[in-house]
């Protein structure tokens, strides 16, 4: 298993500002994933972050809006830029090792006002 610490757990932000979410894992992992979960919806993958390379973004998500850093094998950040109310969501960090299940942080509940 893996223990994932995600910060902040929640935040209320003004529109037009940016928020950076941190994800710390208790062991080294190759792949880290960032998800968005909008109210009443399931998980939508934003991007995959591999250490040492640029993140790979899913359709509908762009680097300018959701820049990601992956400086080492235990840490990643996701920034939600120039926020609007439509960005209000839960953002989740996830890790998995090849051939095993995914583990999640407790999530960041973001409200944009």
């Amino acid at each position: 298993s893996a223990v994932i610490s995600q910060k902040p757990s929640r935040d209320i932000c003004q529109r037009g500002t940016s928020l950076t979410i941190q994800c710390q894992v208790d062991s080294q992992v190759t792949m880290m994933f960032w998800y968005r979960q909008q109210p009443g919806q399931s998980l939508t993958l934003i991007a995959t972050a591999n250490q040492g390379s640029e993140a790979t973004y899913e359709s509908g998500f762009v680097i300018d809006k959701f820049p990601i850093s992956r400086p080492n094998l235990t840490f990643s950040t996701l920034t939600v830029s120039n926020m609007s109310p439509e960005d209000s969501s839960i953002y989740l960090c996830s890790v998995e090792r090849i051939g095993t299940e995914a583990f999640f942080g407790q999530g960041t509940r973001l409200t944009v006002v």
Partner: protein, 112 residues
């Protein structure tokens, strides 16, 4: 197109009333099917992984089964603390191209 469909969307049971949740999938090259539990305001908590048709896994009051087209999560004699959203996901692709395809979940409520 890879797809995961969960049913029902919501289910309310009386304590002790057994039932099953369904996860049907279409995916090219299934590499694993996963069940998670999610409580409000928290990240998904891993329950089971199933890899091949006929496989079964059990944990307390939960039992997961897998066929070539669907998976069931059987809940035997549920308790109020089993109330949560249950999510199903399938893994598609391989290596660095692998990804999880998620269902919308089943919201389970268990009345005392």
């Amino acid at each position: 197109e890879d797809q995961v469909t969960q049913s029902p969307e919501a289910l309310r049971l009386q304590e002790g009333e057994s039932s099953s949740l369904n996860c049907s999938y279409t995916v090219s090259g299934l590499r694993g099917l996963f069940w998670y539990r999610q409580d409000p305001g928290k990240g998904p908590e891993f329950l089971f992984t199933l890899y091949s048709a006929g496989e079964e896994k059990e944990k307390e009051r939960l039992k997961a089964t897998l066929t070539k087209k669907e998976s069931f999560l059987h809940i035997t004699a549920p308790k109020p603390e089993d109330s949560a959203t249950y999510l199903c996901a399938v893994q598609a692709g391989a290596g660095n191209n692998r990804k999880l395809i998620w269902g919308l979940g089943t919201s389970l409520g268990v009345n005392p």
